[in-house]
Symmetry: C2
Subunit: 474 residues, 2 copies
């Protein structure tokens, strides 16, 4: 039997005094997520400074049978990086590993440690006249390792893909402590199974990602942005079809928001103001980008919107003039998640359905929820070009908080059942973590679950890598 003192001694040997945190005060920030939605305890927090130290920690924990919870910027939404309540687990924070190892302009790649903050990568790319396109609300504090572990999405997926699509190579510490060096910067490599794909999106349950080779892109040097009033989600689907057929790859952003979402921002965000005199049911934020500095994007966007008016798809639109107005439009979109907290308890869902099913999904789910909780306020918004809606709920105005909270599981079940009926996904970009792992079995093909369990058993037979995450029973 290993005592906590033994464990600390062994871990100190692996990471040194500077890398070991055992005092309750020092550990507390690592034991809960930023929303304080999940809390856990830990036997220790370790902060290795190199891949070799990560390997030493994992090897030590494997020998002692101690579970390991990898953690990046701790900005996740499903508790995937938070330890359980046992106090037996070790949190392995990658945040001391923040070296940019290489930037190759000709190869359009950047090689970074897992603990590098996303925004740092964006800035390093920009300094080299290139772009790293992944963009999401937490970019100032989330890490590349966390982005990889959850296959992060965000607002640029429409044009540039998920984190998976942006990754050429990985370095991974396997559950037995071996280091796999798969840090290749190649655009084509067909020499066997593409193992990196297993670790991307696995939320640390198959190993610890310690570094990656990421793709860079030519810098975007002109943009145009519009705010469009729409009558329905189907109008948004029609609008994106119209704009994309005309503008092709210039379409770099397409976000939609229900009126309820916009109402909350107008109510709670100082300075936010409605762009139209009348209320509309839905809005779209449309963005074009081009590598040419003077690409005539405003005119092109106006042409696309003109076509949409002619076809009865759009009701009204404003093309932003100047960077302040562009920033105000994005602030409207990006403020939604935060302001919802001012309206009492909320339930958040991150779902995808095929784009062609979005309208039917919204209609069916809205109806079912209003039947269950009359007056429930549905805050739906998201990345319609990816079929990805953040389909969130706030309690009916003036109703009891606890009564709403008590029905959380029932209401989420309605949303997920509806998603599933359209062959959708109950987690588009947030992962499963500990909050969705217990229910994924309800929505996943039995054969697929079997294969997932088998892969987990192969890589991590002792179930020591982030146990309780992703799989319902691991």
């Amino acid at each position: 039997m290993t005592t906590v003192v033994d464990l600390h001694t062994r871990l100190r040997g692996a990471v040194g005094e500077a890398g070991l945190v055992t005092a309750p005060d020092g550990m507390s920030g690592y034991l809960t997520d930023w929303r304080d939605a999940h809390r856990g305890r830990a036997a220790a927090v370790v902060r290795p400074a190199s891949t070799e130290e990560v390997a030493a920690v994992v090897r030590t924990c494997a020998e002692l049978g101690v579970p390991v919870v990898p953690q990046g910027g701790n900005t996740g939404l499903c508790g995937g990086a938070v330890p359980d309540a046992s106090g037996r687990q070790v949190v392995l924070s990658l945040t001391r590993m923040r070296r940019i190892r290489a930037l190759d302009v000709e190869n359009q790649t950047i090689t970074v440690d897992a603990g590098v903050v996303l925004q740092t990568v964006q800035e390093a790319a920009a300094a080299a006249g290139r772009m790293f396109p992944l963009s999401l609300g937490a970019e100032g504090s989330c890490t590349i390792g966390g982005n990889l572990a959850t296959n992060a999405g965000g607002t640029a997926v429409l044009r540039y893909g998920n984190m998976r699509d942006l990754t050429l190579g990985l370095e991974v510490v396997l559950p037995d402590g071996r280091i796999w060096n798969g840090l290749r910067g190649l655009r084509k490599d067909n020499t066997g199974y593409d193992l990196k794909q297993l670790f991307i999106g696995a939320e640390g349950t198959l190993g610890v990602i310690t570094a990656a080779v990421l793709k860079l892109f030519p810098a975007v040097r002109s943009r145009a942005t519009a705010w469009v009033a729409l009558g329905s989600p189907q109008a948004a689907v029609d609008l994106i079809g119209t704009v994309r057929a005309l503008c092709g790859d210039r379409l770099t952003g397409f976000e939609i928001m229900s009126r309820q979402s916009v109402d909350f921002v107008l109510r709670h965000r100082p300075g936010a103001r409605d762009l139209f005199d009348v209320v509309h049911p839905w809005y779209a934020l449309v963005e074009l980008g081009d590598t040419l500095p003077d690409a005539g994007l405003d005119e092109l966007l106006e042409a696309g919107l003109g076509e949409a008016f002619d076809r009865g798809v759009a009701i009204d639109a404003v093309v932003a003039s100047g960077s302040a107005q562009v920033a105000a439009l994005w602030a409207m979109r990006e403020g939604i998640s935060e302001v919802q907290n001012f309206e009492g308890p909320s339930l958040k869902h991150d779902v995808t359905v095929p784009i062609s099913s979005i309208a039917a999904f919204v209609e069916q789910t809205d109806r079912a929820l209003d039947g269950a909780v009359p007056g429930v306020r549905i805050v739906a918004y998201g990345h319609i070009g990816d079929g990805n809606l953040h389909y969130n709920l706030s309690k009916p105005e003036g109703s009891d908080d606890d009564a709403f909270r008590a029905r959380a599981a029932e209401l989420s079940r309605i949303v997920y059942d509806s998603t599933s009926s359209f062959e959708g996904s109950i987690s588009a970009e947030h992962g499963l973590g500990q909050s969705k792992a217990p229910i994924i079995g309800l929505y996943k093909d039995a054969v697929e679950l079997d294969l997932m369990r088998a892969v987990k058993g192969l890589f991590d037979p002792g179930n020591l890598m982030n146990p309780g995450k992703v799989l319902p029973d691991a």
Copy 2:
């Protein structure tokens, strides 16, 4: 012990009389590849007409311990779809499964059986006003299943990615005969391990892909094409950097060819003619595309080339006028592989290195080969934007065929050792098949090979799915 008669009876039960081929004449086309570079024997060829029939065949073979060799259009270059010489294996041809199951314009997806020919998918997409971008020489006969099994590349990877990047969902018959339905048409889905990635590029060694959901794109409605004379591979790398920084995503093709490659085409292809009066060491074929019908691409391309002239990167250039000239330029590029056969025995290599290492790779490898076989003719061409060279060799003019053939392994070893010294890949887009499986162990990290063997053992413990392919010892 199962006799061949028993096996035929069982297979007839699985696929019916119409799906079973046992006569030597009927089987012969399935037992060798199109280049006749690999030949094998088989106990039977089965041609199932549905996923259920594929499952019945695989289940039957699993029960009887008979190896299965999945086969698509049989256009591979590494013998991955050709059975071994034992006569014990069953060839499973997917070519009767050629249904387009669905085309969803709003979702920009097409769902097809594995046996559908690539060109059929391209045409179906075009008929719906969309584009399926995968493009390669064999597109008139290769199948989607084969494209998936080898993670096919080709000339559009630069802009649209490999087959892996173009795939949203798969249906797979597992080695035990179970069917995994992973036919999701979602752009974002983070609900556990992305299992489809294991089957893509696995060359049928982990299961049989029977259907896929593929991404469609907006149709390209204008193009511009140029033929550029260059002094060196580094000039090509500089040129692609210049053009890409200016044109961004409009850059849809960038192929390079050594003078030796062009010489062979000029010598053997009727009607081929040199575009310049003087001989240049290297050439690039540069293509821009845009979804706008009138995008001013000729002017943009001329601006990019002008910048390249100013910087001393390009020596001379012609922007093609009219579709006949465009076709002539592409015929020059696409004719290389065929005409090389008229110059006696050849050795073909499909390698990738980081784009920033291409010039050094070519210089180092050229020198080593010329040292080994003075006068060896190096036919290097390919997709420089992907770092992918087809680095082929023809015997020295007038030398003995057999003497050159006898040194094949030695010369390939020089090319692959050089590739490896630049952290490249010995198979960019052709896969390993049976021709490179025996040597992959020389170039792959031991940890990665261990993981590959473990995954193979997990999915196919009996080693019955395309044994002898991909892995050196399976």
